[in-house]
């Protein structure tokens, strides 16, 4: 056997690149705001804002991927996001609880919806599953839209207070530094949420769940006969996936100051959740994150260069990427490394 195949063993003695990566990620995001500030001064406010949007996409993508590892191609991510956003907004509006409570409860609401949806769709596969989840998401959107105005604001939506309101003290700091403090705080919240998602993903990948998920994805019947309990694990994947999206929806509702049916349950949220991991590399922890950072950078870069039609370039990147990197960015890089490994082993 060549060295390359041996490295794919699942022995516990293997070096824990993933956990080290998570620690590096945590350290990197911990220092990123100050580093950006030191390097770019006031522009760091803007970069933090863009980075926060990229983190948001990463959470969306990675959580989608976790669910997809069981073969469940969900088109309900907007519903998880919206359920979290609306729950958070409702709590902020009607219940006198601290704002922070709303976010985990937003995650919880998403989990409840996900469990109901997951249980109903257990027997559906492939595109049938996808369309059923899409339909459920559209129905939830309509239900929220048609809740009495006094409860959820109806078509006008609801205001959601900001989580951070750093105070401007004239003479002590500049206005952009106040914005920096707020963006930094949001950045850390998003980053924490991403680290939690990454940790969940890593724990799945390191545990027997990885094999169970892969088995269910590739052949649910065979997996069942081999003792894997598909129903239970598919629901577990739904929980792991929805909880982070729900919390993301809650945090984002605070950050953008409002929830609206069209905005909080937008199909484009679902589509981005699906497209990003494919671009980056499916069924891995790294792929969806690389995909999110990659696509965010591509789009931001293009819009800075072309005032018009920058999204055409974005579309071209997507098309070319799938033609030339069928296994995503991570798959391409991994493949190149493996090939090099094989060559060296052959020497």
């Amino acid at each position: 056997m060549s060295a390359s195949t041996r490295t794919r063993r699942t022995r516990p003695a293997q070096f824990p690149w993933d956990l080290v990566g998570l620690v590096l990620l945590a350290v990197a995001v911990a220092f990123a705001p100050d580093l950006l500030k030191a390097l770019f001064g006031r522009a760091s406010v803007s970069y933090l804002s863009i980075a926060t949007n990229a983190l948001s996409l990463s959470i969306l993508a990675l959580s989608w991927d976790v669910l997809a590892r069981t073969g469940q191609l969900s088109l309900a991510h907007a519903a998880f996001y919206g359920a979290g956003a609306y729950t958070t907004a409702l709590l902020a509006r009607h219940a006198d609880v601290p704002l922070w409570i709303g976010i985990p409860l937003g995650g919880l609401a998403a989990v409840v919806f996900a469990l109901l949806l997951g249980a109903a769709t257990l027997r559906l596969r492939g595109i049938y599953f996808a369309i059923a989840t899409l339909s459920a998401a559209e129905v939830l959107k309509a239900v929220v839209h048609h809740l009495p105005t006094g409860i959820a604001g109806g078509n006008a939506g609801m205001n959601v207070p900001t989580l951070f309101r750093p105070e401007f003290i004239a003479g002590q700091m500049e206005r952009w530094e106040v914005a920096f403090l707020r963006n930094e705080a949001y950045f850390y919240v998003y980053a924490t949420l991403l680290c939690m998602t990454v940790l969940a993903s890593i724990l799945v990948q390191r545990s027997r769940l990885k094999h169970a998920f892969t088995a269910i994805r590739t052949n649910e019947e065979v997996a069942g006969v081999m003792g894997v309990r598909p129903a239970r694990l598919k629901l577990l994947a739904f929980v792991l996936s929805s909880v982070f999206v729900g919390m993301l929806g809650g945090v984002e509702a605070h950050r953008v100051g409002s929830v609206l049916p069209e905005q909080s349950f937008s199909v484009s949220t679902t589509v981005l959740a699906l497209v990003t991991p494919i671009f980056g590399g499916l069924y891995t922890t790294l792929g969806p994150i690389v995909g999110a950072l990659g696509l965010s950078s591509v789009q931001e870069g293009l819009r800075r260069v072309f005032s018009d039609g920058y999204l055409i370039g974005y579309g071209v990147v997507l098309v070319l990427s799938i033609l030339f990197m069928p296994r995503g960015v991570v798959g391409l890089v991994g493949g190149l490394l493996r090939r090099r490994g094989k060559r060296e082993a052959g020497r």
């Binding site: 559906l124 059923a132 048609h146 499916l282 579309g315 098309v319």
Partner: protein, 288 residues
């Protein structure tokens, strides 16, 4: 609720089913024969609408006639897109195909935005948009009636083609068994090409109709495609007759709810997707 309103709701629902079915069969062809989940189907629809618009504005061609230009044009566009991209991902996982077609959709949509702008366009100088035949207080619109008839003819024509012609038989053979079909000497790639181009053509014709009914915009295809996906799936992949029934059922249900319930129009999508969800879930739990 008086009966006139009810009958009107039924008539409107039945007529709306035609366009639903037309958009759906094109998509069904792509999914059923080639196995491609085409996220850009709505953009073919949109391109068809803008072409009809442009032909009207530039050459004064009535959409009734531009149908015969737009259809081959979309066939060609479908063929080009198939040859340049789709055929390279036939064996790739369906998620890859989704990303590819999503990318194609973004390109087409933003090209349209660049060329035609974001403002809604209008094919203005046609006389038939507002015509309705009044029968006992119930109105039958000329445009919806015509689009219903054309859609029905096309869908049945496709059904006939799949059942009776050599090309149709080839498509069914390929749909059922890719490797087997290749063995009996069918040029699978050619069949795929035609199926995909035909799918774009059907979308394009739907687009011409929509250009008459409403305003072409870069995002005009979205609402229809979302529903078309659901109809195709609920009918069962490759089941053309099922599409007709599914389209009829959901369109009439939508129309009834929109009419009978206060603010019912805003419940259309909810009704539509609730039906789709219920059918899919029920079916999955019924079969053991």
């Amino acid at each position: 609720m008086d009966t006139t309103l009810l009958v009107q709701a039924l008539v409107s629902g039945v007529l709306a089913a035609g366009l639903y079915a037309l958009v759906s069969v094109g998509l069904a062809l792509a999914i059923g024969v080639i196995g491609i989940v085409n996220f850009a189907h709505g953009e073919f629809f949109m391109v068809g609408a803008f072409l009809a618009y442009q032909l009207f504005v530039t050459f004064g061609i009535d959409p009734v006639w531009s149908l015969f230009i737009v259809a081959p044009a979309l066939f060609a566009l479908g063929a080009i897109i198939y040859t340049s991209t789709i055929r390279f991902v036939l064996k790739a996982p369906e998620l890859n195909q989704m990303l590819l077609t999503f990318g194609i959709g973004i390109i087409l949509q933003n090209l349209a935005l660049l060329i035609w702008g974001g403002d809604p366009r209008t094919i203005a100088g046609i006389t038939y948009r507002g015509i309705g035949y009044q029968i006992g207080g119930v109105s039958i619109g000329l445009v919806p009636l015509a689009s219903f008839v054309v859609s029905l003819v096309l869908v049945l024509g496709l059904y006939w083609m799949l059942a009776r012609t050599p090309l149709g038989r080839a498509m069914r053979a390929v749909a059922q068994n890719r490797t087997g079909a290749a063995l009996v000497g069918l040029e699978v790639n050619r069949v795929y090409l035609v199926a995909f181009a035909l799918s774009a053509l059907l979308a394009g014709i739907g687009g011409v109709m929509i250009a008459v009914i409403q305003s072409p915009t870069p995002v005009v295809g979205f609402a229809f495609t979302l529903k078309a996906f659901a109809i195709v799936v609920v009918a069962g992949l490759g089941n053309i007759r099922g599409i007709l029934f599914a389209a009829l059922f959901v369109a009439v249900a939508e129309s009834l709810v929109a009419t009978l319930v206060p603010n019912g129009d805003t419940l259309r999508n909810a009704v539509f997707f609730a039906i789709i969800f219920a059918v899919l879930i029920r079916r999955s739990w019924r079969t053991a």
